[in-house]
Structures are given as structure tokens and as C-alpha cells.
Subunit: 243 residues, 2 copies
């Protein structure tokens, strides 16, 4: 409405704002969201608020209540672990299908290029974590596409939309960078093994490797949660966890 629109609608901005607050933990799980209150707070009318809430429900960040309202979805530790497990299962299926059905050479080449770029990062003096994070995300997106299954790609996207389930979750944990980098070499070896298995049409091996690969994230969560709560503070991906 105002002159400073950046081509975004009120509803889109409301989605972004609310998503941020939920992921930050500012809106803890179980919090009921009232249309009128949000509308007043955001300075818009109820209509775009309703639209925003519906979209966040689509993203699985909100649950619909029986009466017709919305509450922030609660994520317990078990949910985080299970969602990561689910990602492993889905990516494993993508890898298996890629092996069984045969992957397009073009995509395999693309995968190889990404892996070579990651290799390059390990040679630098100062490890570029942001660069790794980006390339890692690219690799995992590519893995989904290798399955050549629109259904699977869709579901993997859905699942990894949750911050703690994304392939690059926990890479932003500043306090443990040094230890983290060591584990990334092992992760990269797994990347290569997965692509090798797909290339060789070894479906079972490809699936097993992709599953195990996701276990690294699970170990990370379990480590972070088994220690002082102070450790969790520096890990944005875990802010959404309910108390």
C-alpha cells in the first residue's frame, strides 16, 4: 500500500515475519495466534494475516485447531531426531532410485563438479564454512533431482524446509567450528561414495550410504542436547525446540 513496497504483498511480508519469529523461538510451540492481535501488531488487516497463517500451516510450522484457529507447532527433541531420520530415509530413497533407474549423465557430471569444488575448500588455509554450506545444499538438492521423481523431490523439499532438518543445519554453530571441520572431510567422502554407488547402479549401497550420511546431523543434535543448555544458545537451528 505505501510507496515503499518492494513488490511484496502484505501477506508475504507477514509470512516472513511470522516464520522468523517461530524459527527464532519468539513464538514458542503451542502459542495460539489470533488474527486480530496479529493484524494490529503488523499494522495490516485480518485478510492478509489469514492468508499468511494458511501458508505457514502449509509449511507445517502451524497446526490448525479444531475450533478453526492456528497454534505454533511444537517440536520436541524426538521430533527433531525423527525428522532428520526421515530426511535420511527420503534421501536414501532418492539415491536408490537414481541407481536403479539410471541417472542422467549431465546430472552426474554436475554432482562431480560440486564435489570437486568442495574438495578445493579443504585445501585453503582458512576453511570457508559459508561456501561449504552452500555447496553442500547444492549437492543435496542435486541428489533429490537424481532420483528423477517429482514426488520425491517435492517431499524432500518439504522435509528439509524445517531449519533443523536441512542438510546444512548446525554448520553455523560457531563454538565448535574446529571439531566440525574434521567431520566434514568424512561427510565429503560419503558424498563421493554415494555418487559412485549411483554411477555403478548399486541401489542398496547408495541408499545405505545416504542414510548414514544423515546420521551425522543426528549425532550433532544429540551431542548438542546432551551438554549444557549454554551450548544450544549459539545454534539458531535449535531455537525452535520446545522446552
Amino acid at each position: 500500500m505505501t510507496a515503499l513496497d518492494r513488490g511484496e504483498t502484505h501477506a508475504q511480508r507477514a509470512v516472513i515475519t511470522l516464520r522468523q519469529r517461530i524459527l527464532n523461538g519468539d513464538l514458542p510451540g503451542g502459542t495460539r495466534l489470533f488474527e486480530v492481535a496479529l493484524a494490529e501488531e503488523l499494522g495490516i488487516s485480518r485478510t492478509p494475516v489469514r492468508a499468511a497463517l494458511a501458508r505457514l500451516a502449509e509449511e507445517a510450522l502451524l497446526d490448525r485447531t479444531s475450533g478453526g484457529g492456528f497454534v505454533v507447532r511444537s517440536f520436541a527433541v524426538a521430533d527433531v531426531v525423527d525428522t532428520i531420520e526421515l530426511r535420511g530415509v527420503l534421501e536414501g530413497t532418492a539415491a536408490r532410485l537414481a541407481a536403479e533407474r539410471g541417472a542422467p549423465v549431465g546430472l552426474l557430471t554436475e554432482a562431480d563438479m560440486i564435489l570437486c569444488q568442495i574438495d578445493g575448500l579443504f585445501l585453503a588455509e582458512q576453511f570457508d564454512m559459508d561456501g561449504y554450506s552452500q555447496l553442500n545444499t547444492q549437492f543435496h538438492n542435486l541428489l533429490a533431482r537424481l532420483s528423477q521423481s517429482a514426488v520425491l523431490i517435492r517431499e524432500i523439499e518439504r522435509t528439509t524446509a524445517l531449519p533443523f532438518a536441512s542438510p546444512s543445519a548446525f554448520l553455523d554453530d560457531q563454538s565448535r567450528q574446529a571439531e566440525l571441520i574434521k567431520t566434514l572431510a568424512a561427510a565429503q567422502a560419503q558424498h563421493r561414495a554415494i555418487i559412485e554407488a549411483i554411477t555403478n547402479r548399486e541401489g542398496f549401497r547408495a541408499e545405505s550410504l545416504a542414510r548414514e550420511h544423515a546420521r551425522a546431523a543426528r549425532r550433532n543434535v544429540e551431542f548438542l542436547l546432551s551438554h549444557e543448555p549454554a551450548l544450544r544458545e549459539g545454534v539458531p537451528s535449535l531455537a525452535i525446540l520446545s522446552a
Copy 2:
């Protein structure tokens, strides 16, 4: 608004109507849905129509277009096959987790009761397909719950909401009832084996069996589609397939 409301809102009724039309194939994949047109046709205003469209997008029956509208999602044969495969993968994971984590005795007992009831159906002179369909659905719901994972239960529900991916899809195919019944005995044997594997904490076996169990549905689809289109006519679950 009129006096004949059955406690349902206009939006809820619009969801039901539109869902029916999509599943029937009356609204083919790719059809764009316009708010104004639907509102006029359904005799309600745009507001509940918008709400209905948002909910159907949540159910993955509609896709949002870039411009802000909605189109009916297209389901090609490959999508149907992959979705059934996905169900197998998810149910397999549920079975594996149940085995690995240990299933509550109460749920295992419940499973056994359902299986005994199904056994009973095979003894009757006239096979009760509706009864089987119901018990089969119950069994699959229970299998999800055996995993004791809220995340997995949620995703299995989401996936099986599509008519052709439901565990009891294709049981309503009237033309092939006789042949169908023969295959159901094998399916029931798989049911028992899955529960046995879970009871014995045999995770890998439980997962493999559940996956194979879903393959029966896939074989059914592939059989139906490899023959005269006439065969498809009597199979409501496949009406949604795009041409």
C-alpha cells in the same frame, strides 16, 4: 447462512465439493481455479473460496502459481507409482522403527486382533470386501502408530490421503473382484509377517516386508494401465490421472 447448515461452514463445504471434483477427474490436472468463477458457481463469496483453495493446497491437490492463483495438480502415471513407492518406504520405516525401538504390547495386541478379524473374513462364503477394506485401513494406521513417531505418523497420513496411495486403493475395482480376493490372502500373510518381525525386533526384515507389501498396489496400477482404458473406467482411484 441459510437455515439448512449442518454446522459446516461455506469454506468446509467448498473444500469437500472441490476435492470431490478433483478426485473424480471433473477438474483435470492443470486446470486453473478462479476465485470469482468458483464463488459464483458455488453461490458464496470469494472469501470462503480462498480459504478452501488454501486448504486444498495443503492437501497437495492444488499447486500455487507464481502469480498467486491455484491450479489443479497433475498426476501422471509416474507420480502415482512414485507415491505408492513412497508409501512403501514410509511404512517400511515405521515398521523398522517399531522393531528397533520396541512396540508397546497394547498396540501389538490390537494389531493381532485386527489380523484375526481379517482371517475370519476368508472363512465366510461371501467375501466381505468392504469389511476387508476397513480392517486393512485400520491395520495400516496401526502400523504407523507402532513407530511411536509423531513425525512419521503425520507424513504417512499426508501421503495416504491421496486416493490412489491409500492402503485400500483399488479394492473397489468391481471388475476383478475374484482375482483380487486371491491376492488378499498373500497380503494378509505379509501383514502377519510384518507384525512378527516387529515383535522379534527384526528391523530390517520388518522394513523389507512393509516395502514389498506396498508393491502389490503398484503391480495393481501397472496392470490396470497396461490394459484397455476400459479397465480404468471402473476404478475411481485412478480418475485423477492426467491424460
